[in-house]
């Protein structure tokens, strides 16, 4: 018997998770969730040979994630991880043991963000915090990049 490839495994796992989440917390739009799941799987199948596959997957994956978020923030986060993982595998970003700390860091960040959103009543404050954090990280990376380029051009740091 042929074993399933990693991308098919994660798609099946994701489908199981989404169906389970929909079953545990049924919403008024449960049929929409299942429809978007089917759509995502179809897009995953159809865009096998397309160049910028990640874009199409994220487009349709975002819709699925938002629909799942109608039930609970935590269920939405789990589905978002699933969509992210399947998109990463689809783009050929194979995961090794060396990537584990980075993945854990990314998971922790999204978890922290989800917690912040969960504790917020409105969008404005978490949106502001997110924007400020992104701008800060971009500034730090820009400074690091400048120093790196200076070093490579032979200048004494």
């Amino acid at each position: 018997m042929n074993s399933l490839s990693p991308d098919r495994q994660i798609i099946l796992f994701m489908a199981a998770v989404v169906i389970l989440v929909t079953a545990i917390h049924p919403t008024a739009s449960w049929y929409l969730t299942l429809f978007l799941l089917a759509l995502y799987v179809s897009v995953y199948w159809l865009t096998r040979t397309w160049h910028d596959r990640a874009f199409y997957l994220v487009c349709f994956g975002a819709l699925l994630v938002v629909t799942c978020g109608a039930a609970s923030i935590w269920e939405e986060l789990i589905v978002a991880w699933m969509v992210g993982g399947s998109s990463a595998i689809a783009m050929g970003m194979t995961v090794s043991r060396n990537d584990l700390p980075a993945l854990l860091a990314l998971g922790s960040c999204t978890l922290a963000v989800a917690l912040m959103i969960y504790l917020s009543n409105h969008v404005l404050l978490p949106l502001f915090v997110l924007s400020a954090l992104t701008a800060g990280i971009a500034a730090v990376l820009a400074i690091r990049d400048y120093q790196f380029r200076k070093q490579c051009s032979g200048a004494r740091v």
């Binding site: 910028d52 975002a62 980075a102 969008v123």
Partner: protein, 439 residues
């Protein structure tokens, strides 16, 4: 660091989700946008780490054929680059060459694919310094990309740059040299015509010419010995190939025909005269000289290596020769003696003064000196010059003049139906012995 098309699309989705979250005040939409932001930042950091690892793994070893050259001389440079490329990444490396070093041919960039172990590749190219002075190879440019981001960096630190080359200047003018011509060449073979050199001695046979008896050897060995003199044969022609300038665009079928004609004549020369000499020029730049090459295969290999449009380090810009200027002055003198209109006479006087100044300042061109130095040691009777005949032909005029001075017959071969300037009076102007089409 630049986002690629896919990442630009993802950023757009993130912005749309954020805007929707803000307008609808929906936390679920905000979480989707926040997860995307986290993902994009993660991808950015991941690419940055890989990019730094690639740069850290780069090792460059560069060597040039010579460290001191004269301006306009072509030299070969070999650069070995070792780089390790992580999975999912593509790396392109390019030599950062000074604009004054003209690349004649070869490879100045390479692409490295992902590999578990470091990959070593070699770039081999030839450059011609167009300006004198001291130059240091200033390193490489590295371009890396993955499906989400791309970035490039100039690596000019000490470990990526060097060595230096010192380019010596060449003057525009220099004094000309003189030469003595010979018409024939002695070979160690029997021939109808005999030369002055002695090829061998043999015993006398009845009927041998008595004048050929070597009396000293005959007296020494008590036998009659006769001298066998060296054979004499005609001299092979010198082939001069004027390669087109790269700036004139892609050469057409005429160039292919010229290559075929040169190869054919070179082959004929080797088979008939045992050797061939080929001088490769491009405008007033001497590129390479194949001197008395006896190996046909080696000759053809060298021709294959050079027969393509090249970059010209110097141009003559249709510079008139001293004799041209003198002719112009003589013509003006003739016109001045007949001229009655004072305005035209003033103009002609001014023109004559300009020509006179040019004549006083002009010396023998460096190119002419190089041609003389190259041709002088050769014993040749004929020169075949192959050219496409496009653009400036001042350098051809210089070669023809020197050939005439040395009493060498000059045959110019150029494409059929060339510019009207070449037809009719051109032969007379250039004073070539023959002017024929090679195809």
């Amino acid at each position: 660091m630049r986002p690629r098309r896919c990442t630009q699309g993802l950023v757009l989705i993130t912005l749309l989700l954020s805007a929707c979250a803000f307008i609808l005040d929906d936390l679920a939409v905000l979480l989707a946008a926040a997860v995307l932001v986290c993902g994009l930042v993660g991808l950015y950091i991941h690419f940055d780490r890989k990019f730094r690892a690639v740069v850290a793994s780069v090792e460059v070893k560069r060597s040039s054929e010579r460290s001191q050259v004269r301006k306009g001389t072509t030299l070969q440079v070999a650069t070995t680059v070792t780089v390790s490329v992580p999975p999912g990444m593509k790396v392109r490396i390019q030599e950062n060459l000074s604009p004054v070093l003209l690349v004649q041919d070869g490879v100045t960039s390479l692409t490295a694919e992902p590999s578990p172990s470091p990959v070593t590749q070699k770039m081999l190219y030839r450059i011609t310094p167009a300006v004198h002075g001291e130059f240091v190879f200033s390193g490489i440019s590295l371009f890396a990309s993955d499906p989400f981001f791309e970035d490039d960096i100039i690596l000019s630190a000490e470990r990526f740059s060097g060595p230096g080359i010192f380019v010596q200047p060449t003057g525009l003018f220099e004094p000309a040299a003189h030469r003595v011509t010979a018409e024939t060449r002695e070979i160690e073979k029997m021939s109808v015509l005999s030369g002055f050199g002695i090829r061998s001695l043999r015993e006398y046979y009845a009927g041998d010419d008595m004048r050929r008896i070597d009396w000293k050897q005959s007296a020494k060995h008590n036998k009659i010995f006769v001298r066998e003199y060296m054979g004499v044969m005609n001299l092979p022609p010198l082939l001069i190939v004027d390669l087109p300038w790269r700036g004139e665009g892609v050469p057409g079928r005429d160039f292919d025909r010229m290559v075929a004609a040169v190869a054919g004549l070179a082959e004929y020369s080797v088979k008939t005269y045992q050797y061939v000499s080929v001088l490769l020029i491009s405008g007033p730049n001497i590129l390479h000289f194949i001197g008395e090459e006896k190996d046909l295969e080696r000759c053809m290999t060298t021709l294959r290596k050079w027969m393509h449009p090249v970059e010209r380090a110097t141009h003559l810009y249709r510079m008139p020769d001293r004799s041209d200027l003198r002719a112009e002055i003589r013509q003006i003198d003739g016109l001045l003696s007949e001229e009655r209109d004072p305005d035209e006479a003033r103009f002609l006087t001014h023109l004559r003064r300009s020509y006179q100044t040019g004549l006083q300042e002009q010396r023998v061109l460096a190119f002419t000196g190089q041609v003389i130095r190259t041709i002088s040691p050769l014993t040749i009777e004929e020169i075949y010059l192959f050219t496409l005949g496009s653009g400036d032909i001042s350098h051809i005029r210089q070669i023809v003049r020197q050939a005439q001075t040395m009493k060498i017959r000059m045959h110019i071969r150029l494409p059929a139906q060339r510019d009207p300037a070449w037809c009719g009076s051109a032969k007379g102007a250039l004073r070539a012995d023959t002017l024929e089409a090679f195809a």
